[in-house]
């Protein structure tokens, strides 16, 4: 797994590639915490490079979203191709991530 953080005024972009499962969950959690601490009002995630995810990653996403929204901030996912592994697993587990994909304004 590979995580890259790019900060620009107003938002923070986290790109994650490779596997994001239970074994990577600690590393991911600390990356997410950093993003939270940055104070950026919008945190964006670029996840199209993920090759495998499991329930722990989705739980982290939900937790990050909750933490951001309690501080009046928001989380957005960059567009994912249809049938992407993240969408598949989320669908399978009955977790709604599509709302994170929609309607959030995002600079290109």
């Amino acid at each position: 797994m590979n995580i890259q953080i790019a900060e620009s005024p107003g938002d923070l972009l986290l790109s994650i590639d490779g596997r994001a499962g239970i074994d990577e969950s600690d590393e991911l959690a600390s990356a997410f915490r950093k993003a939270l601490e940055s104070g950026a009002p919008l945190v964006r995630l670029a996840l199209s490079g993920l090759s495998a995810v499991d329930v722990s990653f989705l739980q982290l996403l939900l937790s990050l979203e909750l933490s951001l929204s309690r501080g009046g901030r928001s989380l957005a996912l960059r567009p994912l191709p249809a049938g992407h592994v993240l969408l598949q697993v989320a669908d399978l587990l009955g977790i709604n991530v599509k709302r994170l994909l929609a309607s959030k304004t995002e600079s290109a």
Binding site: D26, V55, Q59, L64, L66, L92
Partner: protein
């Protein structure tokens, strides 16, 4: 589709219908008051007439018209069901088949028509045609046949799944579990995520979620529960079936509030309170904080599933089946088979790809092609009812021939089987039923003396047992004459005079040419015995077993795999080549011991837990030169009830293989029953174990 295709389709369909009509007539003869049967005959004839004229089979349509009119009269009570009606009906079925085959029916047709006229007498003709016009106006097209996949009726289960927090530490992959669950039927999953804490408090490897699942499936509760077998101890799991309330108009769809109360998320008083608002129930319930959004979502999903089942049951009344030529389905199966092979090749390549993207694609393709394979295979699978009904006529005719009153009882006709397999079962079943009628069942005089019902019963029953279908044919006749069988077997030198093992003696009837019958009749006993049935079944990878109770009757049970296209095999290696042995025949694999080899040659034996079993060196059977210098393995197989060890160089492992036809040019090679293509593109032969054993041991 062109006109010729349609014509061929019509003929095929008409033949199926005739078979049903025939079966109904035979039952009708015994239950003349059963108006459902009369209606069935009438509707069948009506359809044949209608589509016959549509596809240019005017002679069929014209003739059928008269017979149909007769049965319409019967339907409206103008004629009682008697032997003359049944006789005319059966003769007409034969005559229509003749017309379908392009004949003109000749005198028989005229004979039937004048028989109908004779029945109708004065003025009836007019009444008949009037009745037919009326029937056409009201009836329209009769309802097409219904085929329902799966085993049980569609049911809905509610699941509440609350894993322990440390579930993921136990190596459980929830994704796999949910995928398995969704393979049972249509499945709606809602994760309850309200307990997921903020990042600050989150222990990322612990689970803070639970799930509400609604599944609509033909499987039973146990099958649903078994998905959770590995996590049962680490979770709270509640599974409950949803009662489908049936009303006058079919299934009643419950209100959202009712579901939520039923699930224990709301009180009746809450429902009243929310209803006051006169706004969408779910939204108010959530707004008022009575229930979480997830619970509403799960309840809505359940409601939708009930609605779907309701409308499916309704539409099933009118039924949506289409007829497809078997060749097309076979073609589809071939393509799917190729896809499965290609996918296996890809999977092998994907294993080399460590980056993972290709591997996950390949995994998805694998799942998809497995689903596609199952779906297309299910298309060739049809209910046995129609096939079984065809035997009604046979039993009726046999009854007349042998002079014994006989009755055929059919059950389990909704059991489904591959159409290709069904075709191959016809001869064996005819043979078995003839045997029963001829030898199994006593004369009526003898039966009365024995205090048995004078009418003998032959019954056919079918049921699915796992991946196989069991068809049993039983009679309430005299049962096997064990003394006589033993006598004959000893005479023929098949067993020793001191043999007492009943099962061994019983198995003698499967020996080639074995017959205890003194006289040869037209019906059976022409030296073609149960051995032929047995061999035919083996070609279908099926098995036959026989049970009998003296004075009470005998029962043959045929066990057949659901499909012939894909088998579970054991891949073995001999002389550098791969071979496949059907897994259903394999008992176990053991190492070849030095002592067994020491005996040497063709006659070597193995002592397996006190049982001495013969060993066949497959190298010799398969004409492979040279010796294997490693430690050989023995695959213990069951062939014709006996254990035999097959010596191979190595056992590679279990594998599902797609059976490919061998060219006719090499179909004379007996040791091989087919071939398959492995993941690396090479061809592996599928061994005909029974033939190999027969050739070497000469059973």
């Amino acid at each position: 589709m062109n006109f010729e295709d349609n014509q061929a389709l019509f003929i095929e369909e008409a033949r199926d219908r005739l078979q049903t009509i025939e079966g109904s007539l035979v039952i009708l003869e015994k239950q003349p008051a059963d108006m459902d049967l009369v209606n069935e005959v009438f509707r069948g004839l009506h359809t044949i007439k209608g589509s016959g004229s549509m596809f240019g089979f005017q002679s069929v349509a014209d003739f059928t018209h008269h017979v149909e009119s007769l049965f319409d009269e019967v339907r409206s009570g103008h004629f009682p069901v008697d032997s003359r009606i049944i006789d005319i009906g059966l003769r007409s079925v034969d005559c229509i088949s003749l017309l379908l085959a392009g004949g003109d029916g000749g005198e028989e047709r005229l004979g039937i028509l004048s028989a109908i006229e004779g029945l109708e007498g004065d003025g009836a003709g007019e009444r008949v045609s009037r009745a037919v016009r009326a029937a056409e106006a009201e009836e329209g097209e009769p309802r097409p046949r219904v085929t329902a996949p799966g085993s049980g009726p569609e049911r809905i289960f509610r699941l509440s799944f609350r894993p322990q927090k440390d579930l993921l530490h136990r190596g459980v992959r929830l994704e796999t579990l949910f995928r398995e669950l969704s393979s049972l039927g249509s499945c709606h999953v809602t994760a309850v995520t309200e307990a997921v804490p903020e990042l600050g408090e989150l222990e990322p490897s612990l689970l803070h979620m639970s799930w509400l699942i609604t599944i609509s499936t033909r499987e039973d509760l146990e099958a649903v529960r078994s998905v959770f077998i590995f996590v049962e101890d680490y979770c709270e799991l509640a599974i409950s079936p949803v009662e489908l309330g049936a009303g006058e108009e079919g299934i009643m769809v419950p209100k959202l509030g009712e579901i939520l109360v039923d699930r224990g998320f709301l009180q009746d008083s809450d429902v009243e309170e929310i209803r006051q608002e006169q706004k969408p129930f779910g939204a108010v319930a959530i707004d008022k904080g009575k229930v979480s959004a997830e619970h509403v979502e799960a309840a809505l999903a359940e409601q939708a599933m009930v609605r779907t089942i309701g409308s499916e049951r309704e539409s099933r009344q009118e039924a949506a089946t289409i007829r497809v030529r078997k060749e097309k389905l076979d073609g589809l199966m071939d393509l799917v088979g190729e896809l499965v092979i290609l996918q296996a090749m890809m999977e092998q390549e994907a294993k080399k790809d460590s980056a993972g993207a290709f591997a996950s694609l390949s995994e998805n393709l694998g799942r998809l092609s497995a689903d596609l394979r199952d779906t297309s295979m299910s298309m060739r699978i049809v209910p046995l009812q129609e096939f079984f009904m065809g035997f009604q006529r046979l039993v009726r005719d046999l009854s007349a021939q042998v002079g014994k009153p006989l009755r055929l009882e059919i059950s389990g006709g909704s059991t489904e089987l591959d159409k290709n397999v069904i075709e191959l079962l016809k001869d064996p079943l005819v043979h078995i039923i003839r045997n029963s009628a001829d030898h199994g069942v006593e004369t009526p005089e003898l039966r009365s003396r024995l205090g048995k019902a004078p009418v003998a019963t032959i019954s056919i029953d079918a049921r699915q047992v796992g991946p196989r279908v069991e068809i049993s044919i039983a009679d309430d006749g005299a049962g096997l004459d064990m003394g006589r069988i033993r006598e004959r077997a000893v005479e023929k030198g098949l067993i020793g005079a001191g043999e007492t093992d009943e099962e061994r003696i019983r198995s003698m009837v499967f020996e080639p040419g074995f017959s205890t019958s003194e006289k040869t009749t037209d019906i059976s006993g022409r030296g073609v015995g149960l051995d032929v049935v047995k061999r035919n079944l083996e070609r279908l990878r099926g098995e036959v077993s026989l049970s009998s109770e003296e004075g009470r009757g005998a029962k043959l049970t045929l066990s057949i795999p659901l499909t012939l296209v894909i088998i579970d095999g054991l891949l073995v290696m001999i002389g550098g080549h791969n071979y496949v042995i059907g897994l259903n025949q394999v008992q176990e694999c053991v190492d070849m011991t030095a002592s067994a080899r020491g005996a040497g040659g063709r006659d070597s034996m193995l002592n397996l837990r006190g049982m001495t079993i013969p060993i066949i060196a497959l190298r010799e059977s398969l004409m492979i030169d040279g010796d294997y210098d490693g430690l050989a393995r023995l695959v213990i197989v069951n062939s014709e009830g006996a254990s035999v060890g097959l010596e191979v160089d190595a056992v590679v492992g279990r594998k599902q293989v797609v059976i490919k036809p061998l060219s006719r040019a090499v179909s004379s090679i007996k040791a091989v029953s087919g071939a398959t293509i492995l993941g690396d593109g090479s061809v592996a032969l599928i061994l005909d174990v029974a033939e190999i054993v027969r050739a070497r041991i000469g059973r």
